[in-house]
Amino acid sequence: MAYVHDAEKEALHQPHSFWSKYVWSQDHKVIAIQYSLIAIFAGIIALVLSAMMRMQIGFPGSLEFMDANTYYQAMTMHGMIMVIYLLTALFLGGFGNYMIPLMVGARDMVFPFVNMLSVWFYFLSVIILLASFFVPGGPTGAGWTLYPPQAITAGTPGMEWGIILMLVSLLVFIIAATMGGLNYVTTVIQARTYGMTLLRMPLTVWGIFMATILALLAFPALFVSGVMMLLDRTIGTSFFMPEMISMGQQTDYDGGSPILFQHLFWFFGHPEVYIVALPAFGMISDILSVHSRKKVFGYKMMVWAIVAIGVLSFIVWAHHMYVSGMNPYFGFFFATTTLIIAVPTAIKVYNWVLTLWKGDIHMTVPLLFAVAFIFTFLAGGLTGLFLGNVIVDIPLSDTYFVVAHFHMVMGVAPVLVVFGSIYHWFPKITGRMMNDKIGMWHFWITFLGTYAIYFPMHYLGILGMPRRYYDSTAYEFIPQSAHDLNAFITIAALIVGAAQVLFIYNMIHSAFKGKESGPNPWNAASLEWQTPQTPPVHGNWGEKLPVVHRWPYDYSVPGVKEDFVPQNVSEQELEANKVKL
């Protein structure tokens, strides 16, 4: 920890060469962009993998190379990349890094050097992960949950090297996330500018702050299970490995507990859902407020809901294990806690909706994405009540109902927020607007397309179609119409996947050729829009740090000429701007 001191001083110097400015940078904004670009790159790979899987499900046998091994490898890499390497990295490493210092009025993260290490460790973890595509046996096909014994025994593709690389990559990622997380939390606690009280922070910061705390406390569970599984695989310990046969032969394993792994995994895995969701909650609140020119409804309640969800998310993990063979009496407890968590979540939904109410709603692209998020999240959240209610989960677990549910809540919904947020904050990051027309097309295809993919998919689950099936055509209880539906879903998925090209094009094109945006195109009140330069330069605030006089949601204040009051406007300045009524 001692080097922090030096690093801190160093950060005050302006970087000069290209390398120190864009590669070995310690500037939180550059690090954020590095994080985001790596994450989006990984996400595109995961998207391509999902298209390949969908081809197999919708049109079995249509892809020559897609055998069962490849399918399960694609499935595993897709799930893991989407959850960890795309969404977690993008929300915390990307948005967290960019937004926190700007929104709380800091010059940078408090430990810039550690922050830089964080992104490089993240990069390393992605390299290790992708390397597994090129080792003998290929990447692991253990499913993203990596359940032992199957994950490390013969009969699962990639048990030779793929699983080892996967575990090592996860351990490196956790170290990266911890280094980043220390920064985000400490910055929020210790580096807020003058006047920026906790309850004057935008909900974006609250969401990311709480999500980071969850990450810091929950990732150790994945670390613990990863280390023990790695030892089971490499030196033959029996932490998780029971007495078993493999490939017809007795093994040396004895006494280990596969259920213990599941407990550890989901003790991480459930908070992980909220690590992705809470930043999305925060960002969507801010976007709604800005584009409907109205303060967030029930700000305090929103903060409390974020905190409550964060705390509760540590005592619901076993709802993923209702049919795991654990003591069935746990079901009563975990069903109850799970449904309790639905209450603060519902409050958030109400408050978003009530933010629109009596507003002045501008139908901008970010607002469209925000409303689409509410709708999708609502659908996904409500199906969560099915799965949380233990008895209903018993027929539905491990079917396509689950696949549809989690794609709605933690796949599509956060991704819609990512899109909305990029459209919203792009002008601050690059100084240019993104193209509205392309944005609209991108929005409509993505929103309607994903609903067409996942809404009907629930019914396949109710029908009983199991998930993680390479091919289900041989089952008699599945009618032909279900296979037709799968073909339809595949077509929708391919269209949605292809439509993302619009977004990538829009981003790249607008970054260089987009319309100049000026410092505050949306007339937003929060601090990040008030930087002296756009895009903000190293150190963010020029000579003097901003002083904060109000919360970030002063929109449409009666009697004030403008319909927004920036956070750094003082009472005197406000008086001068008042109109006589």
Partner: protein
Amino acid sequence: MTAAQLMKTSGFESVGGGANEWQETPEVIALRAKTGLRILMAVITSLFFLFIVSFLIRSQIADWEHLSAPWKPLANPWPLWINTGALVLASIFLQWSRISSRKQEARRTVETLVLAGFFSLVFIGGQLAVWQQLMSLGYFVSTNPANSFFYLLTGLHGLHLAGGLMAWCKTVVKAWRGMPIKQLSSSIELCAMYWHYLLGLWFVLLGLLTSSPETYAALVRLCGL
């Protein structure tokens, strides 16, 4: 904590209303480093907590052969107690160094700092010797889950101490290059916090590794698992 109090602890008090460069004073920087370290310690606590829970659950399965059972190598864990002694000394010397640095006694600060590092190395060496001894008796990592956990927990604790020693090295180098005691003291402060924490953690681990299987059974029942 109220917002006003928080602002106070965040160093707002010293600035008297204006937005000066209050953030960059050495005091504020030291405070931030401390906060960062505290959070790091919370993360490490979560890590070891989960290991310990796994340990307890795994210990309830029949194939567990406890290392401190009679006739087992840790029935009389005196080597571990010697190592513990070394770690305690390290902590004491660091505390001494911390106090001396506050009193601006440069020489004493550096001497005790070096001694603390020395005893930490003794601890790590001692732990390795215990490993060596266990292996020579045929207790390998994968022989029994009790062994696996022993190596895993002591090894990870040792790694965390080694990480601390890297920070310690930097501090010693700084001192050797003649950094004024005032600037040094914040680094020493951090080292001392971390070492005390690792000592406390070691006591917990030691207690866990050397207590009887009945204790585990009782603990597990207490947790309702």
